[in-house]
Amino acid sequence: MLNTYTNNSTTTTKMQGRLSAWLAKHKLAHRPLGFDYQGVEILQIRSENWLSIAVALYVYGFNYLRSQCAYDVAPGGLLASVYHFTKIQDNADQPEEICIKIFVSRQRSKIPSVFWIWKSADFQERESYDMLGISYENHPRLKRILMPDTWIGWPLRKDYIVPDFYELQDAY
């Protein structure tokens, strides 16, 4: 993942896909990250450009947010928020798909929420906030969804240390 992220521009031109070309035509800042195993195009977008590009994607026809997830790239490294979009139409046979990745630093992990464009982002962004502490700006109710409200820390970050509660101590 890190390798694809740090690719230079000579290799990225080779793996430019359809949507990357469309975005380039409309002068929207992005970086192609190649294709996944199913041939779905992956684009990296900077956090500050995300809202305008998200609107552009919606205009392009991606009306369905299939999944939103997040992961920790490396201990002490970046946090990633991943979006999968699909273009849903009547009698769609092989609908167009796209994967968006946004990398943010764990100190200033702010990403604009896409809730106001795709309503299904609501719980998924809340879960990403709960597990990794990525704060989605302009989210209507960004609070913990799985962990107790009183929990301290972000459990799925790689540098997370589990508190030594009596209940969590192993039985053996």
Binding site: L146, M147, P155, V162, F165, Y166, L168, D170, A171, Y172
Partner: protein
């Protein structure tokens, strides 16, 4: 064994009697109507729910599922218990009337199961929260295994005596530790921090420690009083 009703309806032996102790009789009544609480947090409850249906039919053991803890005698902890669920589980257990029994169903409620090694939320065994009578292993256990556990619990109930009630007091049955979070701001000096830490360490130890300390203090006081008396006498 002949059913009781036949002997009663038979007018010729109207003076039929049953010889038993009151203890056995009350135990028999209790074990024949172990009402479980409808409690389930994950996949184990699917197996438990199949007992409600006609195929495994636990009504024939007198188990009538109750939706209120106030009416339940038994809680079968079916499924993983997380830190978020733990206070609710303890509260449900506390709301059940005495005598009450717990069957820890499945690997998750015995040791944490497959979540026991690297989980930040799974309680490692429900016996850290409430006292468990029967451990029922499996992932998840088959309905037959649950029936087996219930039969074992019935045997346990049948052997209880009046004295057993006083063996465990409500307050001492399970360990409750209060989590003591202290927000330590970085502006505080190290001295303050260390003093706070040492305080919390003393506080977080168990009641037994406190009691022994009190005893020591008492003996010390007594000794000092003795010394005073001695001095005054002299």
């Amino acid at each position: 064994m002949k059913p009781l009703i036949n002997s009663l309806s038979n007018q010729k032996n109207s003076n039929s009697i049953i010889l038993t102790t009151f203890n056995d009789f009350s135990n028999w009544a209790r074990l024949s109507s172990l009402w479980p609480l409808l409690y389930g947090t994950s996949c184990c409850f699917i197996e438990f729910a199949s007992l409600i249906g006609s195929r495994f039919d636990f009504d024939r053991y007198g188990l009538v599922p109750r939706s209120s803890p106030r009416q339940a005698d038994l809680i079968i902890t079916a499924g993983t218990v997380t830190m978020k669920m733990a206070p609710s589980l303890v509260r449900l257990y506390e709301q059940m009337p005495e005598p009450k029994y717990v069957i820890a169903m499945g690997a998750c409620t015995i040791t944490g199961g497959m979540f026991s090694t690297d989980s930040y939320s799974t309680v490692r065994g429900v016996d850290k929260l409430i006292p468990v009578d029967i451990y029922l292993p499996g992932c998840p256990p088959k309905p037959e295994a649950i029936i087996d556990a219930i039969i074992k619990l019935r045997k346990k109930v049948a052997q209880e005596t009046y004295k057993d009630k006083y063996k465990f007091k409500q307050g001492e049955r399970y360990l409750t530790l209060n989590h003591k979070f202290n927000f330590v701001s970085t502006e505080q000096s190290d001295k303050k921090l260390y003093s706070q830490l040492s305080k919390t360490q003393v506080n977080s130890t168990l009641d037994t420690f406190d009691s022994t300390e009190k005893k020591k203090n008492l003996t010390f006081l007594l000794r000092s009083e003795d010394n005073k008396k001695n001095i005054q006498n002299k």
